[in-house]
Symmetry: C2
Subunit: 340 residues, 2 copies
């Protein structure tokens, strides 16, 4: 088959790769129905993560099970499945406690921007949908593999509660999905920090009540002005830079909750600031596997439509254009169809 | 009256001060029955906090209400009361949410190492005991003003749960009180990191099941060995140095909870470490006022005896010796009797 491989910064190729095959008895092989480009793929694309040898890319996927290894019990060929962006065993104490993304046997997904992909720990990683989905549902189901699950974790970790205020720092696909999550969890005021017109519009469609365009100290001042000088009960940091983390901490009221779900780059937190702000802090790679059953149901019933974050759809073979469009911020998120 | 004033590092004097008087209608004047020296007082004593002019010292106290301002409703002359180490209004949204130590109208206690002390926000700050306590109960009641409340917050913020493991980093008065709290909250395994024989013994008396003497990487390795390589569900950081914070973070399992209640000195946390450890982090100045009613009850019924952390008792006029003894680690904590 062909698949997506990055050779060097800016050099993404759709080229011949070996067909994936069952390597361990707990593996499954999936025929990819849809995949996409992640904001975190751009760190590699931009040369901020090392590329020592060509890397098969992609960790977001939905598809149909082609084949399973002899130890796979719950996933069956022919099922339509969604999996998390890490493969996890589902049975270790950390998985059992609800943190599969820190599973002691965690594995990377070996290149899902391809027509077929091998999924390790199939039973722990994959969740079947209630039936074969309409094509119209597929973009929303695909977001559950990463960005919608990550936005949900951001809201869950920040303990968004009915009638309270949630501030979302970041207007990428994760930040926009976090708006959906905050709305579902009943926040009465959802403030999104964004200065990008098209993303502001989508944030409002998803449930944002207010947009703040200011950043840094001015952004913090705006949030404090809007919250009686106290800050918000819940602040969701969906970027990962030091500036956005500082902004989020300063926008959280004492006793409030701040989550951070963007992989931190250059972030250093002063202990005394955290102490005197007296906030709760929780973040990390989202345990999206924990949320998959409930989120599949919400998408299946049409209650949420996170697939709207895809504003570019391409045949998989044009994957390099997907990376370019996202890097240049022409697209929020690019969906790739293997069968187009 | 006389009272305790620090003039410069190492220069603590018991000297003439003005008698405190009602300055605001929400004030109360307390006749101090017992007070003590705090670990945080030692930062000033050692010259690590600036001393621009002579500072009246002390923020831990129990005593009898002498006089109240015209707006004080719930506290009455003649009552035996305990107050938190910050004065707080009790009515702002932050107090109401359970975080009085971050009250928007928070005030310092103006020098409680004295026979009389003015307490701002008397109604929000002071809690009367059920009656006049026996002298034997007074040391334990005094700890509720700070160290026992802070230890309780450490356990609460680290979400210590029945049947789980709690690790306590630090064997000062707060760390030892945190052992009492973890025991009360039902932890089945309470591991204290300490290399001080006398403190180890008290920790065991309070409920510690294990002592770890190693520190840094070796200490972390010991804790991981004791927890199936995963780390503990709850880790309570009761020191405030960068080394102890790193040790605590590394000892917490993914999805677990770490609290920090020692004022951080030179602490800087790497964002990526916090992200990939995927722990919950919560700390700050303990909201001891929130816990006072329940903790008074536990002491009153003899269920906890945190007063055992006082291993030195002195007449108040010998306060300077209390500072010296704690600085030299000859004493865990020094109690001062104004009437001795």
């Amino acid at each position: 088959m062909k698949g997506t491989v990055i050779h060097a910064p800016w050099d993404v190729r759709y080229e011949d790769r070996e067909d994936p095959r069952i390597e361990e008895p707990t593996d499954a092989i999936i025929r990819t129905v849809a995949t996409c480009v992640c904001g975190s793929d751009l760190w590699t694309y931009r040369g901020l993560n090392p590329i020592e040898k060509p890397i098969p890319m992609g960790h977001e996927y939905v598809g149909i099970v082609e084949e399973v290894g002899p130890d796979v019990r719950h996933v069956k060929p022919g099922q339509f499945v969604i999996g998390a962006f890490f493969a996890t065993d589902g049975t270790c104490p950390i998985c059992q406690a609800g943190y599969p993304s820190s599973c002691v046997n965690r594995r990377s997904i070996p290149g899902a921007q391809a027509p077929y992909v091998r999924i390790p720990w199939a039973d722990g990683t994959l969740v079947p949908t209630p039936g074969m989905p309409d094509r119209a549902l597929i973009p929303s189901l695909l977001t559950l593999s990463d960005v919608m699950g990550t936005g949900w974790f951001a809201a869950d970790a920040a303990e968004v509660r009915p009638g309270k205020t949630a501030v979302i720092v970041g207007d990428g696909a994760v930040g926009l999905c976090a708006v959906i999550a905050a709305k579902q969890m009943g926040a009465s005021r959802i403030i999104v920090m964004s200065r990008h017109e098209k993303r502001q519009a989508l944030a409002k469609e998803f449930g944002a009540t207010d947009i703040v365009e200011e950043r840094g100290e001015e952004g913090v001042k705006r949030i404090l002005d809007m919250t009686d000088g106290l800050g918000a009960e819940s602040v969701l940091e969906c970027v990962g830079t030091n500036e956005s983390m500082m902004q989020a901490i300063q926008c959280t009221r004492p006793g409030g909750h701040m989550s951070f779900v963007g992989v931190p780059h250059g972030v250093s937190l002063d202990g005394r600031l955290l102490f005197y702000k007296q906030i709760h802090l929780h973040g990390g790679p989202a345990p999206v596997r924990r949320y998959l059953p409930d989120l599949i149901q919400l998408v299946w019933e049409g209650k949420i439509q996170p697939g709207k974050v895809f504003d570019l759809e391409l045949p998989l073979e044009q994957v390099a254009e997907g990376y370019r469009a996202m890097h240049e911020r022409r697209a929020i998120k690019a969906l790739l169809w293997p069968d187009a």
